[in-house]
């Protein structure tokens, strides 16, 4: 009964023209349905294939958590660095401005995989501080590798948002005797933040998808777990299923973000 109710609701929600349900509620329903399937599998699901999948699903979810952890940290670092570099791009000092622009161009136009290899092999595997040794795990290196393009993109989003504030706003604030720094702080930046939110969330989704590359440098993430599961079970149908499940997990995580971004874009379009 509960199952069929959930399924019914989900099918209604799948239609794009149901604005009464937020993407978050939609995702919540799917997650609940998935958990119900895992905890009380109906008879038709108890084939060997599904059994394998259920066995491996905790490991897959843990892998997904690693991806989420990397993405959150990479975007957090990238955002802080990006805001700084974005501000430097608007500096009145030409050398500073040019350096910041080159940083942005360099890391915005580089494939993420190359940046991940770059950060993996550039940084040492441990750091000596006096007599202490701190290990520098691969997942941190990947995080830094992804923070590079994230910061370049945030810098560009920030610069774009500032330049998108119409010139009359600068003029109006100037005529009210605002200094440049006061004008930025009180007039321009507050208007920028809401404009930056949708592209910033798009960037987050992109970086999250990029975290799948972490498996290539030995980070134990979702894709790496899927590979291990696939070779361990060694069944063609399971291999297909496990990669399909990985795809689904990424989709379940990224799709609500994308929908929420669209919602924000509509909301801020004319305000």
């Amino acid at each position: 009964m509960e199952d069929s109710l959930c399924a019914g609701e989900a099918s209604v929600l799948l239609q794009p023209s149901s604005p009464s349900w937020s993407p978050l509620a939609w995702a919540a329903v799917l997650v609940v349905a998935l958990l119900l399937l895992v905890s009380q599998p109906p008879a038709f699901l108890q084939t060997p294939l599904i059994g394998y999948l259920l066995t491996w699903s905790p490991a897959l979810l843990m892998g997904m958590l690693a991806n989420i952890q990397i993405s959150v940290l990479a975007v957090a670092i990238g955002t802080l660095a990006g805001l700084l570099i974005g501000a430097l791009q608007l500096s009145s000092l030409r050398p500073v401005r040019m350096a910041a622009r080159w940083y942005v161009q360099l890391f915005r136009n580089a494939p993420m995989l190359i940046l991940i290899y770059f950060s993996t092999y550039v940084f040492p595997f441990e750091i000596h501080l006096g007599s202490h040794y701190f290990s520098f795990p691969d997942w941190i290196k990947v995080t830094l590798g992804l923070a590079l393009p994230a910061s370049a993109n945030v810098a560009e989003i920030f610069r774009g948002a500032i330049l998108s504030i119409p010139a009359p706003q600068w003029e109006a604030a100037s005529s009210l005797a605002f200094r440049r720094s006061q004008l930025l702080r009180w007039i321009i930046l507050p208007q920028c933040l809401r404009r930056m939110l949708p592209p910033w969330m798009n960037l987050y989704a992109t970086i999250t998808m990029g975290t799948a590359l972490a498996s290539l440098v030995g980070v134990h993430d979702l894709l790496d777990t899927a590979q291990i599961a696939s070779t361990t079970v060694n069944r063609v149908d399971f291999t297909v299923t496990v990669y399909f499940t990985s795809l689904l997990l990424f989709f379940l995580y990224c799709y609500p973000i994308s929908r929420f971004t669209q919602y924000l874009e509509r909301k801020y379009a004319f305000s």
Binding site: A172, S175, L176, A177, P190
Partner: protein
Amino acid sequence: MPLVESRPEAGQVLVELRDVHLAFGHNAVLKGINLQVRRGQAVSIIGPSGSGKSTILRCITGLLKPHSGSIILDGVDVRALKSEAALIELRKRVGFVFQQYNLFPHLTVLENLVIAPTRILGKDKAAARREAHVLLERVKLGGKAAAYPGELSGGQQQRVAIARALAMQPELILFDEVTSALDPETVGEVLTVIRELVHDGMTCVLVTHEMRFAEEVSDEVYFTEAGLIVEHGSADKIFSDPASERTRTFLNRALNGDARGEARRDGVGRGPGKLPLSPHFSPISFDRLKFSI
């Protein structure tokens, strides 16, 4: 209570432009402007579009820097101001009202009025709010303090913009075609506010296409064309007996438009008390075209 106290030193020269030249690239916009504004005066600048009227106002408040000539505001040479601090001091004394209002869309009406006095002049927040409420009452928008600019009509936004300029207690206000983006019915509300300001003795420089209004309120009228002052004089003189043939042609066209507007006004029979209406606008609702940022 008047919007501003009339000033004891009324009559002294407050602004003086001498032989001001400005070019954007190869396009000479001002080709030797001479202009004088005395304290307590209302001075109108009229003339065809593109004749440099708005540019003159931007030069006075230091938003644009002329290439040669001098602009003296109460003894201060505006062109010589190099540092940001000096420009800030100048702009504290000069208010500016824009054609497109340029209110801050992320702030409420009240915050629009309070932000500059508190952040720039360092005024106490409660006092600034009290003064802002008084100013809003004066521009007849007492009930709109909590609204956002995007929720107001063009005429209301423009009155907020005037109140925002007044909140800084400037000695001089520059009005840059402040009714040109408004529909005929709201033009009246804005002009009423400006008329009161002029009567209260505020020094005003108006760039305008509202010929009747310019004639009514101005002490002095300047007619510009192609970056030059063609002629200037008292409003009576310019509107009844201009010296220049060019001024005469321009005013004939503008006032013939008025004549037609008059006829239509009588025919349609708009409510009384809406004067003066602009001759330049067809009765389209510009409210529909309202845009925000």
